[in-house]
Structures are given as structure tokens and as C-alpha cells.
């Protein structure tokens, strides 16, 4: 940097003197390098220094965020529990690509027995069985039992294996094993969409009684949309008031918005339970006012609407209503804050000008005020919607049977079924859904129009 400034000093040093001050000669620095190059070098250094400053953050994000997520997502298509522990049978499947259903080939059964014996020695029969069980329920015990007895099996293997357990003679099982013999598989994505495959690879929809995931995805979307809408309805007037009131009042209001924001999520959720459960504060109040309950004046009406339980109380908790109420409250500040920051920048004179030019209150709002708040609405809605899509703890606590979201079933797959591949596939679909919505938002509203604060 100093080099370049030295070049402009006339007669400063002997070097400078030796340079002829003709106009068309390229500008150089004191040590003779062309100015252009020196500037580039300095810029490069500056960029490097800036980059070095963000390196810690970059590494942090890569190591703690991107890598684990990428690895987990990889599990949604990659699971080698079967292929790596059943090498001989997997090999046989590769060599016989045309055999579907139970093979007639003795070699297949020999490979199976050999693999089961090794599995027994390495204690991997549980892993293998679990992998097959993901696609064919009830087959885990087939593997653990057969592995236990594998050491005693002698040729002819086909007969011996079928003698051991007749389930080895089912086409479905061999179809599932063939698919599992490749570590890469689409079966977890199919399952996430309530689909399955026949032994010869045809895709079909699973039985109605077994379908859960698609319904949950839709429910997650519509409930998130509803919560976003409710948040907007509630937050708009609050934010407007915050932005227009004199400072001493608005500060107090601001604290009231932020106070719940600073309170633990669990505390707020459990408070809602205490308030809204059927023996809770709100219901007790209505009962003591004589509105509801076994002798309440409104019980008959509520009952005919299907909104009262057997005791005539309103079930507000452990259902969709509970999830919607609690989540709207919890996510409200995420809508208020961006709205407020945008409204704060809208000069009140605009509205006054509109009114003085003859616009009605509504026209002035509709044509002047509202369009200017759109960047805040966009930011708040996107924030609330995306947060709601992945919300876990509140629906888990207050959702009961019908108010839980897709994140709750992802947790169940991870923690209770130990099926990480399925959890990863569900998570990937959720992520893809959010990205699509983000893209749509960008196309319709434009992401540059968003203002977070």
C-alpha cells in the first residue's frame, strides 16, 4: 500500500528521480513493478487476510454442520449392513441378475449358509436381520435364529435351509435380500412416501392401514401455513403499534414481546398445558362461569359441533388445536421483530400525505402503508414457516395423537426404531420441501425484497 503512494511522490527518492515523467510510460512503483500489478498484489493480500479471518467460522460450519448433515443424508441411500456382512450371497446376486424369487440354484443357498456362519462368528446377524427387517417386517428373527443354527447345517443346503424355517422359501424375502445386497438403495425414500416394492421391483402403495408419512408431510405443511397466517394476523397490529407509539410506551411493549422470547421453550410449552388441558385453568374458568361442563349453557351447542368431551369440557390440549395455539405463541416474536424493523423505517408523513390528498383510511393503508411492509411480511413469514416445518419439542409435548408433525416421526425412527436410514430419507424430503418453497418464494416475491432487520 505504501509502495503505491510512494510512486506518486515526485522526487522523493533517487529511484523516483530516475523515472522519466513522460505521460505514456506505464506507471510503476518505487521498486519498478508496474502499478497495476502492485495494486493487484495488494488486493490479493487483502482478500487473503479477510479470508483467513473467516477461516475459523468456515471450518466450524464445515465440521459441525455440513459434514454431519451430509453424512446423515448419505445414509438415506446408503446402507451396507447387509451387503458387507453377507458377501457371498451378495456376490451370487450380482452373478445371477435374472433370478427373481426363491432361487433353484444350490449355490445361492450355499452362499447363504456360509454367510450366516460368518455372521454368527462376527456377531453381525442382528445387523443383517435388522436391515432386512426394515423392508420385510418379521424377518429379523429369521436371521438371528438361522445364524444360531448355521454351524450345524450340511449339504444339500437348499433342503436344509428350507427345513430350518419355511420362511426362507418366500419370494418376498429373496426380493428384499436382492435389493439389500446393493448398499445403495431407494427403499428408504419409497418407504418415506408410503410406497414399497414387489419381489420383481414393481412399486406399489402400501396398505391404507400402514400409510403415515405422506399424511404427516401434508399435515406439517398445512399446519405450518396456518401457524404462519395466525402469526401474521396477530403480529401486524402489534408491530404497527410498536413502531408508532411514543418511545416510552413502545419500549415497555417491546419488553413484553421479548420477555416470552427469552423464557425457556419448555416452560412456555408446559404453561400452555396447564392453561389449556381439559382440567386446566381455562376450562375450569368456563365451567365455574356455567358456560360449559355437564350443566353448562353452551355444552349442548358445543357437543353438536363435536367440540366437547364426555364431561362437556373443550379439549384444547393434546390435539391439533394445542399444537397450533402453543406454536403460534412461541413463534410470534419471529414475526413481530422483522415487521417492526420494517415499519419503523416507514415515515408517518406518507400516510398523512395520502390522507390529505383525499385517500380514505383504507385506501391509504392499502396503497401506501401495506406495500411498504411487504419485505417485513416476507421475512417474518418465511422465518416462521421454515421454523414451524421443523418444529419438534412443542408438538411432541402438546400434540397428542393428531397434532404431531413430521419431525416427531423422524425422531421416532431414529430413537425407537433405530432406523437411521429412514430418518435420513424423511429428513432429506423435508429439507427438499423447504428448499422448493424457498425457491418458489424467490420466484414470486423475490428474495432481495426480504428485510430481516
Amino acid at each position: 500500500m505504501t509502495d503505491t503512494s510512494a510512486a506518486s511522490l515526485p522526487g522523493g527518492s533517487p529511484m523516483a528521480e530516475s523515472l522519466s515523467p513522460t505521460v505514456d510510460a506505464p506507471l510503476t512503483t518505487v521498486d519498478g513493478t508496474p502499478l497495476r500489478e502492485a495494486l493487484h498484489k495488494a488486493e490479493r493480500q487483502k482478500r487473503w487476510r479477510a479470508f483467513l479471518l473467516v477461516v475459523p467460522l468456515l471450518l466450524f460450519v464445515l465440521i459441525t454442520f455440513v459434514t454431519p448433515i451430509a453424512k446423515l443424508l448419505q445414509q438415506s441411500i446408503y446402507n451396507d449392513d447387509f451387503s458387507s456382512n453377507m458377501p457371498n450371497l451378495s456376490q451370487w446376486f450380482v452373478e445371477n441378475p435374472d433370478s427373481f424369487g426363491v432361487p433353484q440354484d444350490e449355490a445361492a443357498f450355499e452362499a447363504l449358509v456360509l454367510d450366516l456362519q460368518t455372521a454368527r462368528e462376527n456377531r453381525t446377524q442382528g445387523q443383517i436381520g435388522t436391515r432386512v427387517n426394515y423392508d420385510l417386517s418379521g424377518s429379523r428373527s429369521l436371521f438371528t435364529k438361522s445364524a444360531r443354527r448355521a454351524a450345524r447345517i450340511e449339504a444339500p443346503y437348499r433342503e436344509a435351509i428350507l427345513d430350518l424355517d419355511k420362511r426362507w422359501g418366500e419370494d418376498d424375502l429373496w426380493g428384499v435380500m436382492r435389493r439389500a445386497s446393493s448398499a445403495y438403495s431407494s427403499s428408504f425414500y419409497l418407504k418415506s412416501l408410503d410406497l414399497a416394492q414387489t419381489p420383481d421391483g414393481e412399486i406399489y402403495q402400501v396398505d391404507k392401514k400402514q400409510q403415515i408419512y405422506v399424511d404427516l408431510f401434508w399435515r406439517t405443511v398445512w399446519m405450518s401455513a396456518l401457524i404462519t397466517g395466525l402469526c401474521l394476523l396477530l403480529a401486524f397490529p402489534i408491530a404497527h403499534m410498536l413502531a408508532t407509539l411514543p418511545l416510552r410506551y413502545s419500549n415497555l411493549l417491546m419488553i413484553m414481546v421479548l420477555l416470552p422470547f427469552w423464557t425457556s421453550l419448555l416452560v412456555r410449552t408446559t404453561s400452555w398445558i396447564a392453561l389449556l388441558q381439559s382440567q386446566g385453568v381455562l376450562n375450569d374458568l368456563f365451567v365455574s362461569l356455567g358456560l360449559i361442563g355437564t350443566e353448562g349453557v353452551l355444552t349442548g351447542m358445543l357437543d353438536s359441533l363435536g367440540m366437547a368431551d364426555r364431561e362437556g369440557r373443550i379439549p384444547l390440549m393434546y390435539n391439533q388445536a394445542g399444537t397450533i395455539i402453543a406454536m403460534t405463541h412461541i413463534l410470534l416474536p419471529f414475526m413481530v421483530l422483522p415487521l417492526y424493523s420494517v415499519m419503523k423505517t416507514i415515515p408517518p408523513t406518507y400516510m398523512r400525505a395520502a390522507r390529505s390528498l383525499g385517500a380514505t383510511q383504507f385506501t391509504a393503508f392499502n396503497k401506501i402503508y401495506f406495500p411498504q411492509t411487504v419485505p417485513g411480511i416476507g421475512a417474518g413469514a418465511l422465518l416462521v414457516f421454515i421454523l414451524a416445518m421443523g418444529y419438534y419439542i412443542t408438538p411432541a409435548l402438546v400434540g397428542g395423537a393428531k397434532g404431531t408433525l413430521i419431525s416427531n416421526i423422524i425422531a421416532e425412527a431414529m430413537l425407537n426404531w433405530y432406523n437411521w436410514s429412514l430418518a435420513a430419507a424423511l429428513g432429506a424430503l423435508l429439507l427438499a420441501g423447504v428448499l422448493v418453497l424457498y425457491w418458489l418464494y424467490d420466484r414470486i416475491v423475490g428474495i432481495d425484497n426480504m428485510k430481516l432487520g
Binding site: R123, T130, S137, Q210, I212, S278, A401
Partner: protein, 362 residues
């Protein structure tokens, strides 16, 4: 100069303190289920163990201690040394190679002289796990809510006409399906045969349909006595020890119905790669000895897994409640009892859980 000296002495002091604390920090982390149950373990196992070996025991609670094990082992970052898990989880985790094996012959003999393998109840020892207690899933009701007849059978739980009020059930397929079948007249011995067929599953869900609209679903074990105490439900399924604790220690008007109880073991396991494996094994050897197991029954009504502990079980720590009638293994309570089949659930858990969730949502 002074500043330098100050820094030097502080650094040295810190080094000495850290070094010293490192030297005495022999400790073992035990993850259990929290609440009254974890307390009983702290009193009966952890405190005497620390007193006799000097090894500190850190007690950690979880909704289900089996859950974090897979994640911890696969990430190579195991922070717990001993976990208290259910039977099906112990077998499943062991099969997947996520647990250390435990040689049963290293366990101490019973005080009556019988070897450990003879002393433990059948099924209480597996390759990777040592059972400490027998517990059961039962249902309990609030006695103040029923003035006339009291519920006595599993069928009464599903009978809303005779015993009105909401029901609490664990939000899982396990235990609910078995109870539904028993309420529908299936004998305990046939439950898993029936549930193994499609028609049996239909039958169980059909029975659950009868009370579905009046169910409050709970997830953590402590929630069950809570919703019963809150008056949210008049009856709920629960772990028997939780109800005992609420009824005896907290004087709640709860009564257990033992008909159709489902027995299960809780077992100690060591996750693969546990940081204090040696101490973990010592802890398990110590706490599953005859005396600590009998001692635990003073704090909670779960049956000891050793036969030799049985005669030593005395009174509850209030000094007046005789424990024997509150044990799931007590002969009077075993009239119609089902032993949970781990193999059935290891096989069909996912399928039936999906089915259960679909049923919940429909």
C-alpha cells in the same frame, strides 16, 4: 515482573489442582430412567458402591437410556459407562455389536451360596446384560373416582360404560396391543401367538378403538402418575413402581390392578467403548449382588432379579409398608401375567409402530 510472577504462580496452581482432581477422579457414569426409580438406584447401588470402592458414581437421567447408545457408539463419543435398559433394547443393541459383552461367571455368588448363573431368574442374564429388576406395566385407577364397583380386570379398563372417564395409555404399540387382546379374552399364554397373525393385530386395534376417543397419551414414565393425579384421567397404564411411589410415598389414592400385567426386565449394559469400562464392570458386579438388589426394594416396588434377594426384601423405607404384596413377582399378583416377548418386538416393532401411528392419525 510482578505480573509475570503472578501469572506463573496462577498457572502452576491451576496445573496442580487440575492434576490432583484428575488423579482422584475415578468415576463411573450411570444412565437411568430418572424419578423414583433412579433414586432407588442411587440409594441402593450408587452410595454403597462409592462407600466401598471410592469410585464416584454420576447418575444421569434419560427418557429411555437405550436411545443415546447407538448414536454415541457410532460417533465414537461414548460418555456413559453403564446404562439401564429394557430387555428388547439390550438384545437388539447387543446383536448390533453396540455393547460390551459381560461374562456372567464374573458376577458374585448369591449370599445363599448359589452361583450367579443359578441365582438369577431365568432370562435375566444375556451375553451383554445383567438384569437388576423385574418390573411390570399395569394399570391403576384413582379410587376417589369410582364409588361403587372398582375395576378388577383388564377388560374393565376398556369398559367405558361401567367405568366412565378418560384413560391414560403410553403412546406406543408395545404393551397396548397385548393389553387390548387380554381385555378381549385372550389368555396371557396365547397373546403373542394371536398378535403374530394379521387377524390378531386387527382384533387388538378394534379393542383399542373402543376407548380411542377417551385416551390421553403419555410418553415419559413420570407422566402417567402425573395425569392421574391431575384428574386428566381416571385410569392409566403405568410402570408399577411409579404408581407405588405415588400411592405410598405421596399418599395418592391410587390402586393397581394386577390382572393382565406385562412383566419385563431392566438390565445393566456397558456401551462399546465406555470410557471407564473397568469401573463400569465393577459397578455392575457390585450392584447386582444379593444385598443391593434386596436393598433397592426398600425404595421402589420392583422385584429383584436374583432369587436369593427375595427373602431379604423387607419393609419400605417408611418402616411400615410391607413390600412383598407390591412386587410384580408376588404370587398373588401373578394370576394373569404376561412376560414381554423381546423377540416379537425386535421383529415387528417398526411395522406395528407405523400401524399404530397410522391408527392414531386416522
Amino acid at each position: 515482573m510482578k505480573l509475570k510472577q503472578l501469572l506463573l504462580t496462577t498457572a502452576m496452581g491451576a496445573a496442580v489442582t487440575l492434576g490432583a482432581s484428575g488423579a482422584i477422579a475415578a468415576e463411573v457414569t450411570v444412565m437411568s430412567w430418572g424419578g423414583a426409580y433412579a433414586k432407588s438406584q442411587v440409594e441402593a447401588y450408587h452410595k454403597p458402591f462409592t462407600a466401598s470402592t471410592g469410585v464416584e458414581v454420576k447418575s444421569v437421567d434419560a427418557d429411555n437410556p437405550a436411545k443415546p447408545i447407538k448414536a454415541q457408539v457410532e460417533a465414537g463419543n461414548v460418555s456413559i459407562d453403564v446404562a439401564d435398559v429394557e430387555f428388547s433394547d439390550a438384545v437388539r443393541l447387543c446383536d448390533e455389536g453396540l455393547l460390551e459383552t459381560i461374562d456372567a461367571s464374573t458376577l458374585p455368588d448369591g449370599t445363599d451360596g448359589s452361583s450367579a448363573t443359578d441365582d438369577f431368574i431365568e432370562g435375566a442374564l444375556t451375553d451383554c446384560a445383567v438384569a437388576n429388576i423385574v418390573w411390570s406395566t399395569v394399570y391403576a385407577y384413582d379410587t376417589t373416582k369410582f364409588s361403587g364397583d372398582k375395576p378388577t380386570t383388564m377388560a374393565d379398563f376398556f369398559n367405558l360404560e361401567k367405568f366412565p372417564g378418560k384413560r391414560g395409555l403410553r403412546k406406543a404399540a408395545k404393551a397396548n396391543l397385548e393389553m387390548a387382546l387380554m381385555a378381549d379374552g385372550v389368555a396371557a399364554g396365547d397373546v403373542y401367538d394371536v398378535l403374530g397373525t394379521d387377524a390378531g393385530v386387527e382384533r387388538a386395534f378394534a379393542k383399542l378403538d373402543a376407548i380411542k376417543d377417551d385416551v390421553v397419551w403419555w410418553e415419559a414414565g413420570a407422566q402417567a402418575p402425573q395425569i392421574l393425579a391431575d384428574g386428566e384421567v381416571t385410569m392409566t397404564t403405568a410402570y408399577n413402581g411409579r404408581i407405588f411411589n405415588a400411592a405410598v410415598a405421596e399418599d395418592k389414592p391410587f390402586e393397581i390392578v394386577w390382572d393382565g400385567q406385562i412383566l419385563d426386565f431392566d438390565l445393566f449394559v456397558i456401551p462399546k467403548g465406555a470410557p471407564n469400562k473397568k469401573e463400569a464392570l465393577e459397578f455392575i458386579q457390585f450392584s447386582t449382588g444379593t444385598k443391593p438388589l434386596a436393598e433397592q426394594a426398600k425404595w421402589i416396588s420392583y422385584g429383584p432379579a436374583r432369587k436369593s434377594s427375595g427373602p431379604l426384601v423387607g419393609k419400605f423405607n417408611d418402616g411400615k409398608t410391607e413390600m412383598a404384596p407390591h412386587m410384580p413377582t408376588n404370587a398373588a399378583n401373578m394370576g394373569n401375567a404376561l412376560v414381554n416377548s423381546f423377540e416379537f418386538w425386535a421383529d415387528r416393532d417398526t411395522e406395528l409402530s407405523e400401524r399404530f401411528n397410522a391408527w392414531l392419525n386416522s
